[in-house]
């Protein structure tokens, strides 16, 4: 164990796991259109294992919801998909995640590049303390797009994409901190859209929002799946049922069940899934 911890690069550490008991059949359906394929993913924070042998294929241009009680590893799993989890220095991983058939843990794969493809929206709205325009233009700018006309177009398109253009088109140069929480979160979504990612990860994006803003963001997610593959972590099972096509249920770091949303909520195959969605725990 110590040897593993000393290894600074936490890519593909081969290591046995304590609980390799997940039944892969029934969880992993071969899907022709999967955009991210996760195989046997294990993750440790120091010596605490947070994910056990997770394998799932994320479908393209659909909404995949991840549900589960607090501390079940769903946010950790999400952050692994764009390697943000590695910002915690003690994290170690093993297994494989392929984004469009490329191994993202490979040393050749640049995490900055990955994150332009796999964007992220966070739990609490986190706009930069800059104008709305500069927030949305931030991504394109750091990736070398400097021309004003192009940036103008990107900002407009992204804000339209996040369904907030009409509200903000006259306030583009106001500080984003003056906006309401719901508006801030949609600006953050616009900021993610501005680099035209392929996949958008959303980590409980509505948990800090009021019901009306939540409804707007949910509606937005429905529109966005036309163009983007969305993976959304949520505490709210009704939300998962409302907006997702597929749902994954995590418990204690294991993927218990992954199925079409209707299927999972109506005929859960696993007793634990059933207990959770019927509110017996969690």
């Amino acid at each position: 164990m110590n040897k593993v911890m000393e290894e600074k690069t936490n890519k593909n550490v081969n290591q046995g796991t304590k609980k390799p008991e997940v039944k892969k059949e029934g969880i992993k359906k071969e899907n022709a259109n999967s955009i991210i394929e996760v195989n046997d993913l294990n993750l440790w924070y120091g010596s605490d294992q947070a994910l056990y042998e997770v394998s799932m294929d994320v479908p393209e241009k659909q909404v995949t919801a991840i549900i589960g009680p607090s501390g079940c590893g769903k946010s950790t799993f999400l952050k692994t998909l764009n390697r943000m989890v590695e910002m915690v220095p003690i994290v170690k991983t093993s297994g494989s995640i392929k984004y469009r058939d490329q191994e993202i843990f490979s040393s050749k794969y640049k995490e900055e590049y990955l994150r332009t493809k796999v964007g992220m929206v966070f739990q609490k709205p986190n706009p930069f303390p800059k104008s709305v325009y500069d927030n949305v233009a931030y991504g394109p700018r750091i990736h070398g797009i400097k021309k004003k006309e192009i940036l103008d177009q990107i900002v407009e398109k992204s804000l339209k994409g996040a369904a907030i253009w009409d509200e903000l088109k006259d306030r583009l140069h106001e500080n984003a901190y003056g906006l309401s929480g719901g508006q801030q979160q949609r600006v953050c979504i616009a900021r993610a859209l501005a680099v035209e990612p392929d996949v958008i990860l959303m980590d409980e994006p509505t948990s800090a929002l009021d019901p009306i803003s939540t409804a707007k963001v949910e509606e937005l997610v429905q529109e966005l799946k036309e163009k983007y593959s969305i993976i959304i972590v949520t505490h709210n099972m009704q939300q998962a049922a409302r907006i997702s096509d597929k749902t994954a249920f995590f418990l204690n770091g294991e993927l218990i069940e992954f199925a079409d949303t209707d299927d999972l909520f109506q005929n859960p195959h696993d007793k634990r899934t059933e207990d959770y969605i019927t509110g017996r725990f969690g």
Binding site: E112, F122, P129, G139, R141, I142, C188, R191
Partner: protein, 315 residues
Amino acid sequence: MDKGLQSEGKMIDVQQMIERNKNKKSFGERIEKIIPFFLLLCAAVSVLTTVGILFTLLRESIGFFSNVSLIDFYTGTSWSPWSGEYGVAPLIGGTLLITLIATLVAVPLGLMSAIFLSEYANDKVRRVIKPVLEVLAGIPTVVYGYFALTFITPMFQAFIPDLGIFNALSGGFVVGIMIIPMVASLSEDAMNSVPNALREGAYGLGATKLEVVFKVVLPAALSGIIASIVLAISRAIGETMIVTIAAGATPNLTFNPTESIQTMTAFIVQAATGDTTFGSTIYYSLYAVGMTLFVFTLVMNLIAQYISRKFREEY
């Protein structure tokens, strides 16, 4: 269960006890009233001291300006009080030259240290470097002065052969070293208080570490950083011992850092410790220079306060 507590077999009623104690017009109650006055008195000491200093400075300066005209004082370009020339410009020039050199040393070094400590260093490294850096601030300035005179100047002389023993360059350089901790420590605090969510937001867009530091953290911490720089500059303006020892005592209106100069503070030391007669014009000039110095540092402090309010980014 019965309400109330049992003690030594007797029932006691807490409310009754409170009532009884309250009725004793006690010592404690008087203390409650006196303490705020006492605290106010303590707070007043520093305010009164400031007022006292200001009053003395003003009164004695007025005495000086009845002998030397205000216009001559501020427009004259020669400072030679022992032969009756009271143009303060060379002293102000000397102070500004020292401050400029010190700023050029302290701002880049301090800021880079702050960036390293806040964004790059791991906990272990930070725990070693930060206290060491802060020790710099605790070194007596007289030690710095001799360090400048006996170590820095000879070192510089190896590169600049015609550097005098007393020169603005070494003095300013060491004043700069002295104020590094101020810039570094306050700037690091400012950067540390930038929420991690902002960094994550930028990383999530594919930003590199450098882009996060320079395009997110620095702008967000800018008000704190500028305030730290202004405060450090004001400290450099008022610095006395280093420049008295290392920069010389030659009132010299020059911007050549290799020459010997005299700052406002160094003149005050010279006049206050020399055999200046009480009541002479030179004696009063001390206050006029002190007043000028006070205005300089006051203005810098006001600027620092204004900046940290004005540019505070709400996050």
